[in-house]
């Protein structure tokens, strides 16, 4: 019997193991000198935490702050408008990944664009663009690339293949962003809303899949330079509970370190081949505007200058809108992402702002904090 898919998750959802970790955390938490707030950076973790009801298992002095790590949620409206406008251009097939299709921009979502007759397709792997391009030689295929370090290598591979195979009808609109830069922003930047440097984040749960690519080295600076422990953690409930337990232990034992819970895959250096590929085709944008958080230095990627012929942002610059679009003034996503508010404190949560009619960044994708609260409820 070889490795089956179920072996990758079955034991990591075992009820007794989860309960055992809950007990360990509760015991250790009694020794905490003050309550701790753990930010799970990634939307995938938010989803795990809410779906499996983990806050219900934690003592009152261990809290979650739901981070900005959902690539769909953090996309500012003007960039969603880019996708919409591109899809409306003659002879264009706009290709993107799953959830992106639902997110509303100022004119509507890509779903709406599709209903109006534009050719919008979602793919599971960016490499499917090649097949689409070959079947539609008279059309321009634009890949609207989104995601963190986890999906960037897939886009880089597509860029490489387009160049190698001399495919002349695939172009890119790059919206890749990086995790460590926004973490720095969250703990070390002036919050415009309250005009202070006050943030509530005591420790981070690092997303394991990001470190599969980038290694755990990207978090070394957080304990060292910012005094915040990081535990790189997997996405199953047993993983998450073990990760939380490791963080609590660090506080009890007065340590501040970068640790890896997800040792079954993650190492310090990560996937060097993938990193080299990203380095070859992409460079940092000086600023990328995050929905709910504003401009974050060095947090976005773009195609390198020498590949500008493939860059849809360059090619279509005359039709792409540039004005920044702010969210509704009642939306408190910025505060939620900084850990200063919970979704239910927002006056429009669940009323004007719902998964079917999202107003702020945290509601737009199933991985946003507000969407997770709305979907799974809070039944403590």
């Amino acid at each position: 019997m070889g490795l089956e898919l179920k072996h990758l998750y079955d034991n990591f959802r075992d009820g007794d193991t989860i309960k055992a970790y809950a007990k360990i955390i509760a015991e250790d938490a009694k020794k905490l000198k003050k309550p701790i707030n753990i930010m799970e950076v990634c939307g995938g973790h938010t989803h795990t935490i809410m779906k499996f009801g983990l806050p219900q298992l934690l003592p009152d002095n261990v809290n979650f702050i739901h981070g900005p790590g959902c690539p769909v949620c953090i996309m500012p409206k003007e960039r969603i408008d880019h996708a919409y406008v591109l899809s409306m251009q003659p002879d264009v097939i706009l290709v993107t990944l799953g959830d992106m299709i639902k997110v509303p921009g100022s004119n509507g979502s890509l779903q709406d664009a599709r209903a109006k007759g534009s050719d919008v397709r979602f793919v599971y792997s960016p490499m499917e663009c090649i097949k689409i391009a070959q079947e539609n030689e008279d059309k321009k295929v634009i890949f609207f690339a989104i995601g963190f370090e986890t999906t960037t290598p897939m886009t880089a591979v597509l860029v490489e293949q387009v160049i190698k195979q001399k495919i002349s009808n695939i172009f890119f609109h790059i919206n890749h962003v990086t995790v460590p830069e926004v973490m720095v922003e969250l703990i070390d930047s002036r919050d415009v809303h309250v005009d202070s440097y006050n943030n509530q984040i005591d420790a981070f749960l690092g997303p394991s899949h990001v470190s599969v690519i980038s290694g755990s080295k990207i978090y070394d600076k957080f304990p060292k330079d910012y005094g915040r422990p990081v535990v790189v953690t997997g996405f199953e409930p047993v993983d998450a509970m073990q990760g939380i337990s490791m963080i609590v232990k660090q506080f009890v034992e007065e340590r501040c370190e970068m640790e890896v819970q997800y040792k079954r895959v993650v190492n310090h250096d990560g996937n060097l081949k993938a990193q080299a590929l990203i380095e070859k085709y992409f460079e940092k944008m000086s600023l990328f505007r995050w929905r709910g958080l504003g401009n974050v230095p060095d947090s976005g990627l773009k195609l390198r200058e020498e590949y500008r012929d493939y860059d849809a942002e360059v090619l279509y610059k005359d039709v792409l809108p540039i004005a920044e679009i702010e969210d509704h003034k009642l939306c408190i996503c910025g505060d939620i992402l900084r850990g200063m508010a919970k979704p239910q404190e927002c006056t429009i949560f669940g009323t004007a702002c719902k998964p079917t009619t999202p107003i702020g960044s945290c509601m737009v994708s199933s991985e946003g904090a507000c969407a997770a609260y709305y979907k799974y409820g809070n039944l403590i």
Binding site: K51, L97, R114, G147, T151, K375
Partner: protein, 330 residues
């Protein structure tokens, strides 16, 4: 209501309900329609009457085809009202250029399924449209059935009753997704597409009082449970562990970020009975599918809501699926 109709409006979930209520119910309003059951009950409760259109892509999939689906779908809607399917119509809209051999293959599989139900097609219509006007072939069927068990309704659930599923859930949705997305999985997965009347007849013959019954098509088991919770103003408490899901279906859900209870089924139904009938109903259902099991009870904890209880003691809402089912990004 949005200005244009999107794919999400056909998902069997929240947007779908909105479209139906705000446009169709508004103008077609009458007491029978307002009940919004799987099939309309007419002629003083003697007959059940329903219609359904089939647009599935691909037309042929592991375990079935659009023809089998077109008969099962409509006959199952009748069976879910405790009716024996009797007469059907069959309308087809065919795209120019479609293979007659494939057409006959589809009609033959309709015939096989009609025989299982003991129903006959008594009227029909054929339209051929230019290339691109439809995707290969669409089928509409309408059916009339004779009611053999009265009083089945989504609003009859009460505290203490039991909810069962007739087999493991999500097989059809997972099969279609695997076939459609070209994920190239080596899988033995087959659709659950099947006629349900024989199982319904067995339940009736065993003397079981059926409180509510619905086949978990679009929107899956979660849509059925949510609708029942709302219609009956009760809380449906599901034991998460007890929901039967095949390994292959779970695998596809894990990869794409879906939940099996949100996936469509074409031969799986949800049944609500009195606690006293639970063991007998389970015995009848397990004769067809050993995976049939009790998944939920009714309480008053959060009225109108469905709650999922985990094996480690946490609770969460199981909401109606919203939007188009799309794979998660990372």
């Amino acid at each position: 209501m949005t200005k244009t109709v999107t794919i999400a409006h056909g998902n069997g979930g929240e947007e779908n309900n909105e479209l139906i209520k705000k446009i169709f119910y508004k103008h077609f309003e009458n007491d029978i329609l307002a009940k919004s059951e799987d099939a309309a009950v007419i002629e003083d409760g003697k007959l059940a009457f329903t219609t359904d259109s089939f647009t599935v892509s691909p037309l042929f999939f592991p375990g079935g085809d659009i023809g089998k689906l077109a008969v099962c779908g409509t006959c199952n809607d009748l069976a879910m009202m405790g009716a024996k399917p009797k007469y059907m119509t069959c309308s087809v809209i065919i795209e120019e250029g479609f293979s007659t051999r494939e057409l006959e293959k589809i009609v033959k599989s309709m015939k096989t399924e009609l025989e299982i139900n003991g129903a006959i097609v008594v009227s029909g219509d054929t339209k051929v449209v230019p290339k691109g006007a439809v995707d290969k072939l669409f089928i509409n069927t309408t059916g009339i059935g004779q009611i053999e068990h009265k009083g089945i309704t989504a609003s009859g659930l009460k505290e203490g009753m039991s909810i069962l599923v007739s087999r493991d859930v999500g097989a059809h949705g997972a099969t279609i997704f695997a076939a459609r997305e070209g994920i190239e999985l080596a899988s033995s997965l087959q659709t659950d597409c099947a006629s349900l009347y024989p199982q319904v007849k067995a339940l009736i013959d065993a003397g079981i009082h059926i409180v509510a019954m619905r086949d978990a098509t679009r929107g899956g088991v979660s849509a059925v449970l949510n609708e029942w919770a709302k219609s009956s103003d009760v809380c449906v408490e599901v034991t998460e562990e007890s929901i039967p899901v095949q390994e292959e279906v779970r695998g596809i859900c894990e990869m794409l970020g879906f939940e099996a209870v949100d996936l469509a089924n074409e031969g799986t139904f949800v049944l609500c009975v009195e606690k006293a009938d639970e063991a007998k109903a389970l015995d009848v259902l397990q004769r067809t599918h050993t995976t049939s099991t009790v998944i939920a009870t009714i309480s008053e904890q959060h009225k109108g809501k469905v709650i999922l209880n985990s094996s480690w003691g946490t609770k969460r809402f199981l909401d109606l699926p919203t939007g188009e089912l799309l794979p998660r990004i990372c």
